[in-house]
């Protein structure tokens, strides 16, 4: 009887067996890398806005405080977006005819707020509260990055659940003194461990319930 397979068939079958065994693992790793990649999470992405508002200019160069525009960040779940009148505090006086600011002027005339596009978008099943994070010593920059250097705001963090948990499981390294909360360029100095311990104590951070399901999923 003639041979059914060519001599190379042996090698092919052996490699096929290896591939068969490796496939589930390779698939899982590939999906994991994809799920955590900026392509999937939107990390480092900036979003077009009706007016190309520059945080670099307003915060970094002019020194506006975060709360000047995001008024409710210390008292509410939502940081708050400024009404057009806040923009007009200055822009009724300077750059009054700038083409770039035309939508702002239209908004004032029409009485219709500007529609900013969200950059950091959490899923609806996540309960997130800005005020408690600030009250417990987590600075703006811990999640939003060095906003004072961003011409257009970009998504600094991957916003995956793993990223949330990395801090909820070990908050100490991400805490800062009250004076540094709104300083997006603050750099810690000195003994990190000692500072973490001291801040955990002074803010009364209770880690027991930080990773309960119902802390974020209500």
């Amino acid at each position: 009887m003639a041979q059914l397979f060519r001599p190379g068939a042996d090698i092919a079958v052996r490699w096929a067996l290896v591939a068969l065994l490796a496939f589930p693992f390779v698939l899982v790793v590939a999906l994991y890398v994809y799920a955590g990649s900026p392509y999937r999470t939107g990390q480092d992405r900036s979003v077009d806005q009706p007016v190309p508002f520059s945080h670099q200019h307003h915060v970094g160069e002019l020194g506006l405080d975060c709360r000047f525009c995001h008024e409710t960040v210390e008292t509410s779940r939502f940081a708050g977006m400024p009404p057009t009148h806040t923009c007009m505090t200055c822009h009724s006086q300077i750059w009054t005819n700038a083409a770039m600011l035309a939508p702002v002027r239209e908004s004032l005339v029409d009485g219709r707020p500007l529609k900013w596009n969200r950059v950091n978008n959490l899923p609806d099943y996540v309960y997130f509260d800005h005020s408690v994070h600030l009250a417990k010593g987590v600075g703006c920059a811990s999640c939003h990055g060095p906003v004072a250097l961003m011409p257009l705001v970009r998504q600094q963090a991957p916003l995956t659940m793993g990223w949330c948990l990395s801090c909820h499981r070990n908050p100490a390294p991400n805490l800062r003194p009250p004076s540094a909360i709104f300083d997006t360029l603050w750099k810690p100095t000195g003994d990190a461990a000692a500072r973490g311990r001291a801040l955990m104590a002074s803010y009364h951070v209770d880690t027991r319930s930080l990773t309960d399901c119902s802390t974020c999923h209500r």
Partner: protein
């Protein structure tokens, strides 16, 4: 040692060498007869019923089944335990009989193993059906994920995942190792270009040299040794799904071993049914004889006695433990609304199988098949009652609720039976259902060769 006389028992008439192989190898190599098509259509219709039922459950939610807010497990988990019990038996039978040198194993082991593969696969579907969000079934696996979460190791669902997965993978391997020499036989018998090459591929270059036989036999024996603890662990895990809770009627240490025996019991009975069907359909009266049914009947009697003792020990520990909850529960079992079902289960699982003490019953294929079917009805009732009785009668009387199945429950249950038959019918056209080389060996020895 009178091996010859012993081996001759398992062969009827005097089939020639090669005749048996021809007979076993025929279905995958020939066109299916009309009967096969009719059976396939019937099984396919039932399969469709299951698919429709499962689709409705997936789209409209688990409320379409009889599951309610207290009896949260209902039919799906009863079916799961029943199917995995059946799945347990194939590999258990095959490996136990191999290690104990039971020659009659040769005629039944291959399709018993195939039964395992299909039953475990079907069983694996049911826990997914009973989940509220079935699309996240893969969360049961500890895979790296951007949520930084592990599965909940204290959840019985995760234990099931490991039990099913490891057992299924192992059973595929065990089945295939036995199949390799038969694939070579099929390759040599195949006429078509594609058939030769497909069987040749799965024969992995088998030439039948002494060295290959030695390796195949020792690997098969090694896997059989692994199989027995694995099989016991699988159904023990299923038993622990219940026993690890605190509920009356569940928190009993007898559960793991009693589940393993129950699995072997119902699995053996399905093997009896399959043996009768395959013997008739493939005309294998030469190599599947009444002696086989005789031997299986003896094992069933033994298993039914163990089941009886297990039930009695449940009652005893419920009474002797003295917990008022356990006693109230026992009262509910014997006098509650499920009483007729419970009595039926005791009759089917313990009383009825005692008929198999009689050689006349064991050596009559008709009565054996009827008994086997009845026992499996009883075993299914046992799994259902374990769930609906305890979950419907826990510590708080405010949580006491009865279970009523819906049409969808029925469609999925009977559909899964049809799906099982459907898979078996398909398998019969692509692989030999009975071990060729092992039955040939039996024939050769019986003829004193």
């Amino acid at each position: 040692m009178s091996t010859q006389a012993g081996e001759a028992r398992w062969i009827c008439g005097s089939p020639g060498l090669g005749e048996v192989a021809d007979q076993i190898a025929r279905p995958p190599l020939s066109r299916p007869p009309l009967g096969w098509w009719i059976a396939l259509a019937g099984a396919g219709a039932l399969t469709l019923a299951m698919v429709i039922g499962v689709t409705i459950v997936f789209f409209d939610g688990i409320g379409t089944m009889g599951n309610n807010s207290f009896v949260v497990w209902g039919f799906p988990i009863a079916n799961y335990v029943w199917w995995i019990g059946i799945g347990n038996a194939g590999t258990l039978i095959s490996s136990m009989l191999l290690l104990t040198h039971q020659q009659w194993r040769s005629s039944i082991n291959r399709f018993a193993e195939a039964m395992t593969l299909f039953a475990v696969s079907i069983a694996g579907v049911f826990p997914i059906i009973h989940m509220g969000r079935p699309m996240y079934w893969y969360w049961l696996a500890p895979y790296p994920n951007v949520m930084s979460l592990w599965p909940q190791w204290r959840s019985a669902l995760v234990w099931d995942f490991w039990a099913i997965l490891s057992y299924l993978l192992f059973s595929i391997g065990f089945w295939y190792v036995g199949l390799i020499p038969d694939m070579a036989v099929m390759r040599d018998k195949a006429r078509s270009w594609l058939g030769k090459r497909l069987f040749g591929l799965f024969a992995l270059g088998w030439r039948g040299s002494i060295a290959q036989w030695r390796q195949q036999k020792s690997l098969q024996k090694l896997m059989a040794m692994f199989a027995i603890p694995l099989v016991c662990s699988v159904h023990s895990i299923v038993g622990l799904d219940f026993a690890a809770s605190l509920n009356p009627g569940w928190a009993e240490t007898i559960f793991p071993p009693y589940f393993v025996v129950g699995a072997m019991f119902s699995g053996f009975c399905i093997v009896i049914v399959l043996t009768a069907v395959i013997r008739g359909a493939m005309h294998l009266q030469d190599i599947i004889t009444v002696e086989h049914f005789d031997a299986m009947g003896k094992i069933c009697v033994a298993a039914s006695l163990v089941m009886g003792v297990s039930y009695a020990s449940e009652w005893f520990s419920g009474w002797y433990g003295g917990s008022p909850h356990d006693r109230v529960f026992l009262d509910f079992v014997f006098k509650g609304p499920y009483q007729p079902l419970y009595v039926a289960m005791l009759c089917l699982n313990v009383l009825l199988p005692q008929a198999m003490w009689s050689p006349k019953v064991r050596r009559n294929i008709g009565t054996m098949v009827i008994l086997a079917v009845m026992i499996n009805v009883g075993m299914w009732l046992e799994r259902l009652l374990i769930i609906v009785e305890t979950l419907g009668h826990t510590f708080l009387p405010s949580n006491w609720k009865l279970f009523f199945p819906t049409l969808i429950d029925g469609a999925i249950l009977f559909g899964s039976l049809g799906f099982f038959a459907f898979l078996f019918l398909l398998l019969s056209r692509v692989a030999p259902l009975v071990a060729i080389h092992e039955t040939e060996e039996l024939v050769a020895r019986a003829r004193g060769l």
